[in-house]
Each structure stands twice: as C-alpha cells, then as structure tokens.
Amino acid sequence: MDFIQLLASGLANGCVYGLIALGFVLIYKATEAVNFAQGDFMMLGAFICVGFANEDFLGWSFWTAVPLSIFFMSVFGYLFNWGVLRHMFGRSQTAIVILTIALGFILRFAAGTIWSHEPVSLETPYAGKDVSFGGVVLGIDEILGVIVTIILTISLFIFFSKTKLGLAMQAASQNQLAAYYMGIPVKRIQSMVWGLSGAVAAVAGILFASKGAIDPSAGLLGIKAFAAAAIGGFGSLPGALLGGLIIGIVEPLSSRYAPPGVSQIAPYAILLVVLIFRPGGIFSQTQKKKV
C-alpha cells in the first residue's frame, strides 16, 4: 500500500518533470538550441498565475487566471525568440546556451522582486481535497496533474500529426533548408515553437504550484527535467515524458527505501546509466541521410 501511494505521488511529480522536459525537446527539435531557462519559464508561469489568482495579489477567479497565464507565457516565449534569439542566428551554440542561462537568472530575480522570495502556493478551488481509492489517498491536485498531462500530450500529438502548422513545425525541425524551399516561414515557425513551449511550461508551473509551495528558485528543477529529456533521447516528445515519469517515480521510492541522499543522486545516476548503454537516449531518433 505504501508502495502504491509513493508510486502515485511520484507519477504526479513526474508529469511536471515530463512537461518541462517536453518544453526542452520542443525547442531543441525546432531550433537546435537548448533553452536552459525552461525551468524558469515554468517558475514564471506559476508566479504569473499566483499573481492573478491569489488573494494577496489580484485575487481573480482561478479559471480566468489559468488561461491568462498560459497565454502570457506563450507570448513571452514567442517574443523572446523574435526579439532576442533570432538576432543570434549564426552564432555558436555556446553563446545561445549562455544567453538562456542568463535569462534564467534574470527571471529568477525579477520574480523574487515582484512576488518576494518567500515560498507561496497557488490558491486553487480544489486545494487540500483528497480522494481515497481503497486505502491509497490521492490529492485532487495530483489526479488533475496526471489528467492534464495526458490531455496535453494527446492534443500535442494530434496537433503535430494532423494540422498543417504542426506538420510545418516538424518539417522545419527535420530539414530546415528544405522547409525554406517549400515556402514555410521558418523563423516565424520557430518563434511559434518557443511560444508553444512557453505555454507548456506555464501548465507545468501551475500544476507544480498547486501541489505545493513555489519560490523563485524553483526553476532549478529544470536541471532535473533536463536529465529527464536526455534520458528519453533529446529529440523525442514521448521520450521526454517517459524520462520525466521515470525520474518522478524513482525519487520518492528511493527516498523511502534507499539510504538517505540516494534520492538526490538517483535522477543523474539513471542519466549516467542511460548515456553509457544507450547514448541516444531511450527513444533515440537518429537517422542518417541517404547519399
């Protein structure tokens, strides 16, 4: 019973990691850049929602705050690529990595200045409510987290495989030059992908902040999510989710059954093992070009 309880809450945590990892992978696939501020995007999304919904701030209805903050983060992602990253075109990867790390710092301190460095939690209509399934007690927030992740995954899958825009995003990530030749506006598409991953980060942030407290340094969670993305194979969306779930489940189990300290190391130990035995990640998607 204990085991199942830990498994269930690990699953809910894993969904948050998975969604942040999804954001990493979306941007990496579309633009070949790694957004090290993805965790801070998650944090910012959560704080914007807190700013709208909590009584201490604006105190609007939770159901208006959620779509508003998702919308705000997608605009933020779009504008960041449009206004900053696009002008770095042709620079080395290192420059872009450092830029996104710096952005993370800026967001962290900006959030601290606006909302203070004290941990807050998002006030939701379902806070503190539980459901019990034969002895296993699950918070509504946890169940909701899993359901939202599933719905988001399915709708992303449909978006990428069925819509023209989704196909164009895939095309631009598989062969940027050919996408140009087909008249696909690659630069705008890349900004849209940044917007999309901002929105996904906001969803992750809202789920995270409704399960517990969040503070401006919560963005450091992004490092764990980065490990999750690498475990899944850095170019694969289902891989990112799976990697997130693995880390989410391993953490509570190892802190319960293994000696102290193991749970902090576990995600990276798994990453190490995956990289040794399957360097491309679990769902590696590498393909060689025919000559």
Binding site: Y181, M182, G183, Q285, V291
Partner: protein
C-alpha cells in the same frame, strides 16, 4: 553572343549583374541571364562554378550583394524564401532534401504550404501521383526509407505542389544511375510540356541536360562564359571537349587540346 530563341516567348526571369558572397568569398560575380516562358534553360559548369549559389540567390535562401533579379516584372532579390515561393518560383534542392521522418504523402502536402484551397491541393496531389505512381504506392511510408531515385521524384513532386511558374532544379541527376537519370529527365520534359512549368536546370551532367534543354549557359568560376541554343552548345567544340568528354584528335604540334586554353578565356 546570340540571345535569340526560335519561338520567342516572354522573358519571365531576368537576372542582371548578380553578385553573391559566402562571407568574404565571391561565389558568383556579375551573372546576367534570361529565362523565357515555357523553356527549359540549363546552366552547366563544374564543381564550384557557382551554379547552386545562383539558384539559392534566386530562391531567396541567400541574399545577393549586388545586382537585380526580376521575375514577371517584379524585383525579387533579397526577399524571404516564402515570399519567393508565393510569387511562383520553387527550388528543388540538390541532394534530395526531404523530410525524412514524415511520410511521403506529408512531404508532398507540405509542398503546398503556401496554398490554402483544399480542392485544388487535392487535384494537384493526384496530378503529382499521376507523374510518379511509385509515390502513391509508398505514400504512407517514411520518406527517409525511399531509394535515392524515389527521393528525387519526391523532391520534384513536392516542388510541383506549389504550382510554380518556374522550377529551379539543382542537379536532379546527382547520384542516380544512367537509367534513372533518363527517367527523371523524361518526366522533367513532360512537366515542361504538359504542365507548362518553365525549368531552370543546373547540371554537371551536360549531355542529358543539353538534350532536354532549349537554351544553355556555361558557368565557370562564378561567371557566365558562354551561352547559346542548346543544340549549338551541343555542337560547340569547347563544350564537347570540356563538358561532354568527346575526344579530339591530336593537332599538328602533338598536343592534346586539353593542354591548351579554352577559347573563351
């Protein structure tokens, strides 16, 4: 130099004094050429002559430093590639740049990205399948699993979906067997006649290109050094020797002509 065509049609693409650079290196220097409606025009030249750069500059992937490109009377140099495609030029790149993980059908449909009329897209899809039945057979397969020749067909079919007035073909014979090359060129000729697509064709394989083309240009080190009717080029001593590999008899001084300078220098 003559610039006459037997049946004179309108000039749809006119390039004037075009110069493009890769960083500090000049890739094409002062190229001027014309493409007339309904023609197949070929640009011949060895590796590094600047043929691909020329096409990339027309399709907007590279921006020229100097010169003008006018298409149907509008200047298009330096425009973003998606605007160039919308104006009616499509570039079928060298080396079959396809989307490997997407299916064949999805690849072809992406060719119509700039179109929105669903009925005409569906009709164009059928048209593409009628020229390349093998693509219809393989439509749900990942494009990366196709053979080289099929990938080339896919690249051409995908290009057709934007309903281009002018198609820029970069080395369609690259890496294909002589038989497949014949097949691809036959289809290019048919598309030119039946679908009225004007073709600008860049090739190293001068023989097949000149057989298919109406008019030809020869490029060397970023310049156009020769231009004429394809037939005349085919019979020209210089082209025969340097691009078609026809053996010349030794001259009275016992030297092979390849030791001599080309007459255009």
């Amino acid at each position: 130099m003559s610039n006459q065509s037997k049946n004179k049609t309108e000039v749809i693409l006119k390039i004037d004094n075009l110069e493009s650079y890769y960083g500090p290196i000049v890739a094409i220097r002062g190229v001027s050429l014309e493409v007339r409606e309904g023609q197949i025009v070929t640009v011949l030249g060895a590796n590094g002559a600047g043929k691909t750069t020329l096409l990339k500059t027309i399709s907007g992937v590279m921006d020229p430093e100097k010169g003008t490109i006018s298409f149907l009377g509008n200047q298009i140099q330096g425009q973003e590639p998606d605007r160039v495609v919308r104006s009616g030029i499509v570039h079928v790149p060298e080396g079959r740049e396809i989307f490997p993980i997407l299916s064949v059908a999805e690849n072809i449909e992406l060719g119509a990205y700039t179109k929105s009329d669903k009925a005409s897209i569906a009709a164009d899809l059928e048209m593409v399948y009628s020229y390349f039945p093998i693509l219809k057979e393989r439509r749900s397969q990942a494009a990366g699993t196709l053979s080289g020749g099929q990938q080339q067909m896919l690249a051409i079919g995908r290009g057709l979906m934007s309903r281009p007035k002018l198609m820029l073909l970069d080395e369609p014979s690259l890496g294909l067997s002589p038989l497949l090359t014949q097949e691809i060129f036959e289809i290019i000729r048919r598309l030119n006649q039946e679908q009225k697509v004007t073709m600008m064709l860049v090739e190293q394989n001068a023989k097949v290109a000149l057989n298919a083309a109406d008019y030809g240009y020869v490029m060397e080190l970023g310049r156009i050094v020769m231009e004429d009717e394809a037939e005349t080029l085919n019979n020209s001593k210089d082209v025969q020797e340097f691009y078609l590999g026809v053996n010349q008899e030794e001259n009275q001084r016992g030297q092979k002509r390849w030791k001599q300078r080309k007459t255009w220098r």
